[in-house]
C-alpha cells in the first residue's frame, strides 16, 4: 500500500518508524511545516533548546548514554551553521546523529535568499554523509538511509537538508522495510587468520597490555562484556583512552587507569614497555602516543578497528584486524579457549610485579591542606559520595577539570561517561548532561565543569529549567582557563595572556534567575554537605565550587615526549618542554 502525504508529515512518520522518541531542536522559517506536524502528534517528544549547538550536544549526550542515534531538527542558515561545532564533535568521537535542517525552497537555492546557506557544502567535511533532498518522493527513503549510515560501521553524524517546498509538497511515503539503503555495508567480521595470529601472540606474550577506546563502547554493551571476560580470563593489564572509560570497570583487578597525556603513570609506562599491545577500538590519537618515533618501541602491535582508515594511519600495526569489536572479541575468545586458554604465567607474574612498582609511585597523590578546596579533592569527594549509585552519569566540559574527572572518578559501566574527546569542545558538557537526563529521567546526571567552559553554553539553563531536568552542574571555579594557564606557565614564561575569567557572574544568582538552585562552596569543611545538598535537590543545580586557582594537572607527558618521560608534579616541570615541543598543541 502506498501512502501519500506531505514532506513534513513524512519526516515525522519516518522518525516514528525509526523508533525515535525524542528530537532536540529549534524552530525557524524553513522548518515551520515540520514543526506544524510535530505540534499535531504526541509520539515524538520535542525538546526546545536555547541554541542549536546545544541541540546537537544534547543529542550526543542522548546517543552516548542510550546507544541509539540522537536526532536534531534546526532551521536553515544560522540554524545549520550553529550546528556545525556539534557535528564536528560527533564526527571526531564517532557518535551517531541524524540532523535535519530546513532549507530555502528549491527554486530559491543559489539566490542568496533570506537565511540561505550552502548547508550540505558547509557540513560535508563534518558529517559522515549528507543529503540535499530535492523531491518529496525521495524524502522518506533518504531518512531511512540516513539512520542506516549513521549507525552502521563506524558511527557518525549525518545531515539531511530539506527545502521548504519539499516539506509542503505531497509524495509517496516509503516505509523502512522498503527503503533502498544503498550499498553502504561495512565489514564487521575480522580476518580469521590475523585473529589466530593474535591469539597465538596472546598465549606467549610476556608483557601484554590491552589498550581500549571508544570503539568498544560504540560496539554495544556485549563488547564490554566480552572485553571483561577476556581480560579477566587472561589476567592481563588493561588501560583505556578517555573515550573508552567504563568499558572495563575501574574497580576491576586488571585496571591500570586512563593512559595518555594526562594518563596514569603505570598505564603509560606499561604501554611504553609492553611486548604485545592489543588496541581495541582506539585510534592512536596524538594525546595517546606522545612522540611517535618513541612510542612503545619494543612491542608487537595488534589493532582491531571497524574503520580501515584507522589502521596504519599513525602507528604501524603488525596485526591489523578490520572488524566490529564484538565480533572480533567473540572469535578471539572462542579460539583462545579452544586452544586451551593458555597464557605465559611466568612472564605475566614478572610483568605485574613491575606494574605494581609503578603503581606504588601513586601518581595521583595530592594533599588537601589549607583553607582552599583543591580541585582534585572536590572530585575525590564527589566520587566518594556518588560512586555507589549505578544510575550515575558523568559529563564534562573541556580542560583541567575534564582530566581530573577522568583521573579521580571511576567508571564501572559503558555509556555512563560523556566527554568531548577528539574535538575538545568547551561548552559540550552542560547540553550533553541535559540530553542524558532526558533519556534517563530518574538518573543522577552530573556535569563536571570549569567556569569558563560552562559559560559557553549556559543559555541551556533555560532548557533545564523548562523541562525541570535535575541536572547537577558541578563547576570547579578557579577563575582561570586552567589548562591554557597551565600551558602558559610551562611553555610561555608564565605570561598569562587572556587566560583568566574576568567579570564572572554570581553563579548562585544566575541559577536562581533561571529558576534553578545555586550552591556556592569554598570551605573544604563544608564540601561534603554541599555535595549532598546538590544530589538531594530535586531540580537543576548550579554548584559553584571555588577551588585553588593555580593548581596544575598532573601527571603529564610534555608535548613531543614519549611515555616514559612523564612529569609527575610541580618539581619536575621546569624547562620540561623544549622549543620543538612548544609548537604542538
Amino acid at each position: 500500500m502506498t501512502r501519500q502525504m506531505t514532506g513534513a508529515k513524512m519526516v515525522v512518520q519516518a522518525l516514528k518508524d525509526q523508533g525515535v522518541d525524542t528530537v532536540f531542536g529549534y524552530p525557524g522559517g524553513a522548518v515551520l511545516p515540520i514543526y506544524d506536524e510535530i505540534f499535531q502528534q504526541n509520539a515524538i517528544r520535542h525538546i526546545l533548546v536555547r541554541h542549536e549547538q546545544g541541540a546537537v550536544h544534547m543529542a550526543e549526550g542522548y546517543a552516548r548514554s542510550t546507544g541509539k542515534p540522537g536526532v536534531v531538527l534546526v532551521t536553515s542558515g544560522p540554524g545549520a551553521t550553529n550546528a556545525v561545532t556539534g557535528l564536528t564533535d560527533a564526527l571526531m568521537d564517532s557518535i551517531p546523529l541524524v540532523v535535519l535542517t530546513g532549507q530555502v525552497p528549491t527554486f530559491m537555492i543559489g539566490s542568496d535568499a533570506f537565511q540561505e546557506a550552502d548547508t550540505v557544502g558547509i557540513t560535508r567535511p563534518c558529517t559522515k554523509h549528507n543529503w540535499l533532498v530535492k523531491e518529496t518522493d525521495q524524502l522518506s527513503g533518504t531518512i531511512h538511509e540516513a539512520f542506516h549510515v549513521a549507525t552502521k560501521g563506524r558511527p557518525g553524524p549525518v545531515l539531511i537538508d530539506i527545502p521548504k517546498d519539499v516539506q509542503f509538497a505531497n509524495g509517496t511515503y516509503t516505509p523502512p522495510a522498503k527503503a533502498d539503503l544503498g550499498h553502504y555495508q561495512p565489514r564487521v567480521k575480522g580476518d580469521p587468520e590475523t585473529i589466530a595470529a593474535l591469539v597465538e601472540a596472546l598465549e606467549t606474550a610476556e608483557r601484554p597490555i590491552f589498550y581500549t577506546g571508544g570503539g568498544v563502547i560504540n560496539s554495544g554493551t556485549r563488547a564490554s562484556e566480552l572485553l571483561r571476560e577476556l581480560v579477566d580470563a587472561t589476567g592481563m593489564p588493561i588501560t583505556s583512552t578517555l573515550m573508552g572509560l567504563g568499558a572495563y570497570p575501574a574497580s576491576g583487578k586488571h585496571w591500570l587507569g586512563m593512559l595518555g597525556m594526562h594518563g596514569l603513570y603505570e598505564a603509560n609506562l606499561a604501554m611504553h614497555d609492553c611486548d604485545l599491545m592489543i588496541n581495541i577500538g582506539a585510534r592512536f590519537d596524538d594525546r595517546i602516543t606522545g612522540r611517535i618515533d618513541a612510542f612503545s618501541p619494543k612491542s608487537t602491535k595488534a589493532h582491531i578497528d571497524i574503520d580501515p582508515s584507522s589502521i596504519n594511519k599513525v602507528i604501524k600495526t603488525d596485526l591489523p584486524i578490520v572488524g566490529d569489536v564484538t565480533h572480533v572479541l567473540e572469535e578471539m575468545l572462542k579460539l583462545w579457549k579452544q586452544r586451551g586458554s593458555k597464557v605465559n604465567r611466568e612472564g605475566l607474574q614478572k610483568w605485574w610485579a613491575r606494574i605494581e612498582e609503578w603503581k606504588a609511585v601513586d601518581c595521583l597523590k595530592f594533599k588537601q591542606t589549607g583553607p582552599t578546596i583543591k580541585p582534585q579533592h572536590a572530585l575525590a569527594r564527589l566520587e566518594a559520595l556518588t560512586k555507589d549509585r549505578k544510575d550515575r552519569f558523568i559529563c564534562t566540559e573541556v580542560g583541567q577539570h575534564q582530566m581530573w574527572a577522568a583521573q579521580y572518578m571511576g567508571f564501572e559501566d559503558p555509556n555512563h561517561w560523556m566527554t568531548s574527546g577528539g574535538l575538545g569542545t568547551m561548552g559540550y558538557g552542560f547540553p550533553a548532561s541535559i540530553g542524558v537526563q532526558i533519556a534517563h529521567p530518574d538518573a543522577l546526571v552530573i556535569n563536571v565543569a570549569g567556569e569558563a567552559s560552562w559559560l559557553m553554553n549556559m543559555q541551556e539553563l533555560g532548557t533545564a529549567a523548562q523541562y525541570r531536568l535535575p541536572v547537577k552542574q558541578f563547576i570547579l571555579n578557579n577563575e582561570r582557563l586552567g589548562m591554557v594557564r597551565q600551558w602558559q606557565e610551562l611553555l610561555h614564561g608564565e605570561r598569562y595572556s587572556h587566560s583568566w575569567s574576568d567579570a564572572l557572574p554570581d553563579f548562585v544568582k544566575l541559577a536562581e534567575a533561571f529558576g534553578a538552585k545555586g550552591i556556592q562552596c569554598s570551605d573544604p569543611a563544608d564540601l561534603d554537605d554541599a555535595i549532598m545538598e546538590m544530589i538531594n535537590y530535586e531540580g537543576p543545580v548550579v554548584f559553584d565550587c571555588l577551588v585553588e586557582k593555580h593548581e596544575n594537572c598532573f601527571p603529564m607527558i610534555p608535548s613531543g615526549e614519549p611515555h616514559n618521560k612523564m612529569l609527575l608534579g610541580e618539581a619536575s616541570t621546569k624547562d620540561a618542554i623544549g622549543t620543538k615541543g612548544a609548537v604542538l598543541v
Binding site: 563506524r154 596504519n312 599513525v314 613531543g560 609548537v583
Partner: protein, 186 residues
C-alpha cells in the same frame, strides 16, 4: 614521588611528524574509483584530498553507467606508501564510493590522456609542426591559414614530449583531459 629530570630542548621530533615509522619514498599511483553519480560526489573526493593534505596530480571524471548512475574517477596522486594506503582507505569509507582500485599495484594498465593544442605560425615552422605531429600521430582537428589545432592521445609522458616540441613552434593554447586508465585484460 621522584621527579623526572628532562633536559631543555630534548624533544627532537614533533608529534605531528607522523611518518617516522614509515618509508619516506614518494610514489606515484593511479587510482580508479567507482562512485554513485550524485550531486556533490566530486566535491567529497576533492574535499578529502584538500582537507587531509593529499596531492592530486591529475583527476578525470565522467559518468560511465547511465542506468546504474555510476561515474568513474581516475586520480593520479603522489605520496609515501603509507599516505597512498591512507588515501585508498579514506576514499573507501566515503558513502557514495563503491570501490577503489590502485592500478599501479594491480598489474599492467593502459593509461591515456587526450590533449588539444593550438599552434600558430607560418612558413617553415608550420611545416615542421605538421611533420612532428605526424611522427607523434597527432591529428589536425581544426585549421586556419596560420594555425593548426592538434589532437594527441597517449601517456602523459608522450603528451608532455609533444607539448615541449610545439612550444617553440608557436603553441598558444593547450587543453588536457587528465589521465583515464584501465587495467589490462588478463
Amino acid at each position: 614521588m621522584a621527579p623526572l629530570k628532562i633536559k631543555k630542548g630534548s624533544s627532537k621530533h614533533s608529534a605531528y611528524n607522523l611518518r617516522s615509522n614509515f618509508s619516506d619514498v614518494q610514489e606515484r599511483h593511479t587510482l580508479t574509483v567507482m562512485v554513485d553519480n550524485e550531486a556533490g560526489v566530486l566535491a567529497r573526493v576533492i574535499g578529502l584530498f584538500s582537507g587531509r593534505g593529499y596531492n592530486i596530480d591529475s583527476l578525470t571524471v565522467a559518468e560511465v553507467d547511465h542506468e546504474g548512475h555510476l561515474s568513474r574517477i581516475t586520480i593520479v596522486t603522489t605520496g609515501t606508501p603509507q599516505v597512498i594506503e591512507q588515501i585508498k582507505a579514506q576514499l573507501g569509507r566515503l558513502v557514495p564510493v563503491h570501490d577503489v582500485h590502485d592500478l599501479t599495484v594491480e598489474g599492467a594498465t593502459v593509461e591515456r590522456e587526450l590533449a588539444l593544442m593550438r599552434v600558430e605560425g607560418t612558413g617553415e615552422k608550420r611545416v615542421e609542426a605538421l611533420r612532428l605531429a605526424d611522427i607523434f600521430r597527432a591529428n589536425v582537428v581544426d585549421s586556419t591559414l596560420d594555425s593548426f589545432t592538434f589532437q594527441i592521445t597517449g601517456t602523459q609522458e608522450k603528451v608532455d614530449a609533444f607539448a615541449d616540441l610545439m612550444r617553440p613552434l608557436g603553441m598558444t593554447d593547450i587543453a588536457r583531459t587528465g589521465v583515464a586508465a584501465l587495467s589490462r585484460a588478463s
